[in-house]
Amino acid sequence: MESMEQVSTKPDNKKKKTKWEMLKKDLKKNKCIYLMAIPMIVYFILFHYMPMYGVLISFKDFNPRLGIWKSPWVGLKHFGTFFNSIYFKRTLKNTALLSFYSLLWGFPAAIILALLLNELKNEKFKRRIQTITYLPHFISLVVICGLIVDFTSTDGLINSILSNFGVEPTNWLTKPEWFRTIYIGSGLWQSIGWDSIIFLAALSGIDPSLYEAAKIDGAGRWKQMLHITLPALAPTIIVMFILNIGGLMSVGAQKVILLYNPLTWETSDVISSYVYRKGVQGAEYSFSTAVGLFESLIGFTLLIIANKLSKKITEESLW
């Protein structure tokens, strides 16, 4: 009775109350699901949201002993150091190009592989191909890069093949113009199978009766793919594409560092590898955080733009 009275004295609470009631109702109805979600929610709060205040150190001269709060503020000093470096433009350009080309080649490749696998009628053969294509995903990056360095060396595999065609042996990893090709080519080989899994999953969800209906209507395989498979795959493709756009500015340092050398830095030195080298000089927490924040901001902006565009053009979007 009392609570009812309270509510009635505040007219604008009515809407809130209904929302609260809805939530309560939902909680009651799906309590097991909510209970199962708790660990994940706690995980995200503890490990993703709470540490976020750590970005503060990109505006401070972080000193471990003083902690995040007591370290002195320095404003945009660390951003300035990064933007004023003679290598800022070069690393920015290399990062953007490397991930743009990776997306350009890698993204359609996974879809095409998934489509091709989908057309295979021999289940045994299909599964074998699948296993073979995604096996490289499980090989450690260090091993992969070791192989690449071996294959591309002056007396390596690639040169011994090319020498049959009269190509002068050279160390391909010392040629700046070849770095992107090697990096993206090996990345394609390593991840194409794995990346296609999600598309294959989406494909298996397509109602077979659609294909049957199309066949009755006289549609060949090509027409079936154009009018059934691709439209059904579109939401997945778009979501994956938008997510990939978000990561466009963050090229991981590990593979680049394992493959590059000063001779190829003009095309291979990306933001993260530059920061890594600079960080080696001292524990540059604040500087690394500032650059990380810069990368995230660009990624965030790209993600929002891509999502907006996609909403407008295709009516598909992340949120």
């Binding site: 009651k28 000063p262 000089q281």
Partner: protein
């Protein structure tokens, strides 16, 4: 009812969270107790130190030597080892947490801002007074060896750590050039001493022995300890000439060095793949018999010698002196064993009983401590033969078939803060002795001693050197492989100046002046 359900849900969540928090609290509580003292009233030291474990000894807690030391000193040590390969990260994480062990060894010097800053921040303890009162053996060493005193002290006069100290102030060099002795003999060549002789030998290796890589070379194009580049009377990086600091890669002589390397590279005298060759790649190249010469350390030369015997039983490595331009000329840069031998152990402000810890450290610099740390326990790991300690079969001919280096840390200490005799190994091979003799012939006048930067200086240093190193590394390789002609050298020097390299030289100069002016008493 509804309310009750929600309430119980919230309670469950809180319970889970509380139990997590509870766990953590319990942990800290027990470790706090450890730091104060064991159950039997013994002093206990929590000692953070990186350690390379193997099948024979997993952690220094298993070390027989430290157990014996506990018997003798009544101090119990609890070793904490960071994960191998993540030492730096874990050191930084440890500093970020509020709890510190009592002692930090080896990575302590990485404290950002330097040792004076660490003492100012109240993280490490200043040891001057403690050493004065409680460490007679270490104090004596400092008094007798002003260079050691200078290197164990900061510019502000703080003594901050117990380092490894070599008992022999003239420990031989451990890094230098090595040639295929059997090839030299076969081709009737002398061991080369000058750059021209090197050129001749390498050319013959290439032409007559068909060596794929006559010279295996550092992937950055400059040997880090100055072999070859020192022939041109400069250092590989910052160096000093009559107490004036200079930067090797911008001196005019560096152009001659690059011209020589470029010539060697073009004539296939240097490993064609040197920019992409890592240490494993270099080892494979050397041990497969494709290489004629390389630059390394003597312990590694032993390994290579053993490995190459499998493919070519006649192969024999032989040490050469660091080359000079003219015959008989002395070069002035090589690897140096500083009096402060590193592996420095600091005492942190978390330590409850620093006097006892200092006394415990001091034992390692006493005569008995010297025998214990270098040779272990008499009758067990060594015996006195004709007045000289000699390792027992337990170490030199282990019943489990393990080699000395695998076994040794169980009975003695390989590296750490103690008075060390580099000869405390089962014995050097002839190659080792030859290497030491040849390599030590180079002088050390150009080497800058271990100076300190102030926090402001180290900030300027890392700000500037980040870009300078990138630019220099890139250009050096391009000059050597000929992608950029040497006529660009002057522009390269101008660009280095534009990147404010001279500011760093000034910083180094000031730091060196402060080092030279340190009052050692």
């Amino acid at each position: 009812m509804k309310g009750k359900r929600v309430l119980s849900l919230i309670l469950v969540v809180m319970l889970i969270m509380l139990s997590m928090v509870g766990c953590k609290k319990n942990e800290t509580f027990t470790s706090d107790q450890d730091a104060e003292g064991g159950a039997d009233g013994k002093v206990t030291i929590k000692y953070w130190v990186p350690f390379a474990s193997n099948q024979y000894i997993q952690s220094l807690n298993e070390s027989e030597m430290y157990k014996e030391l506990e018997e003798r000193t009544g101090v119990h040590v609890k070793f904490i080892h960071p994960a191998e390969g993540e030492e730096m990260e874990q050191f930084n994480l440890m500093l970020n947490s509020k709890e510190l062990p009592d002692v930090i060894q080896t990575y302590a010097g990485q404290y950002k801002g330097g040792m004076d800053k660490a003492i100012e921040d109240g993280v490490y303890l200043r040891l001057n007074e403690l050493i004065d009162q409680h460490a007679p053996n270490f104090k004596k060493l400092l008094e007798e060896d002003p260079e050691l005193a200078r290197q164990t002290m900061t510019d502000k006069g703080n003594i901050y750590a117990f380092p490894l100290v070599g008992i022999d102030p003239d420990e031989p060099a451990w890094w230098g050039p090595v040639f295929r002795g059997d090839w030299l003999e076969e081709l009737d060549l002398e061991i080369p001493n000058t750059i021209d002789e090197w050129y001749n030998v390498l050319t013959q290796f290439k032409e007559k022995k068909n060596a794929k890589a006559p010279l295996v070379f550092s992937s950055r194009g400059i040997d880090p300890y100055g072999t070859i580049i020192s022939a041109f009377n400069i250092g590989p990086g910052f160096y000093k000439k009559d107490n004036v600091v200079k930067y090797g890669p911008m001196e005019p002589e560096f152009k001659e060095y690059l011209a020589t390397m470029n010539k060697w590279y073009n004539e296939d005298l240097i490993d064609k793949d040197f920019p992409t060759r890592d240490s494993n790649g270099r080892a494979t190249l050397i041990t497969s018999g494709d290489a004629g010469a390389y630059i390394s350390e003597y312990a590694v030369v032993d390994q290579y010698q053993a490995a190459i015997a499998a493919t070519d039983p006649n192969a024999k490595f032989i040490a050469a002196i660091q080359p000079s331009l003219k015959a008989g000329e002395k070069v002035n840069y090589r690897v140096v064993n500083e009096r402060n031998g590193g592996y420095e152990a600091v005492i942190t402000s978390s330590c409850k009983n620093p006097e006892a810890v200092v006394k415990w450290f001091d034992y390692a610099y006493s005569q008995e401590g010297f025998m214990l740390f270098n040779y272990g326990i008499e009758g067990k790991s060594y015996n006195m033969v004709d007045g000289e300690p000699q390792f027992t079969d337990l170490l030199t001919n282990n019943p489990d078939g393990l080699d000395f280096w695998t076994v040794c840390n169980k009975y003695k200490l390989e590296v750490g803060p103690y008075l060390r005799d580099y000869k405390a190994v089962p014995g050097f091979t002839d190659i080792d002795l030859d290497c030491m003799e040849q390599w030590t012939k180079a002088g050390t006048d150009h080497v800058i001693p271990p100076v300190n930067f102030t926090p402001e200086e180290s900030e300027t240093y890392s700000d500037i050197m980040g870009d300078v190193a990138t630019f220099k590394d890139e250009m050096v390789l391009k000059f050597i492989v000929g992608e950029v002609p040497l006529s660009e050298f002057d522009n390269y020097v101008e660009q280095l100046k534009a990147l404010e390299i001279e500011k760093v030289i000034d910083i180094y100069q000031e730091a060196l002046n402060r080092y030279n002016n340190r009052k050692t008493n």
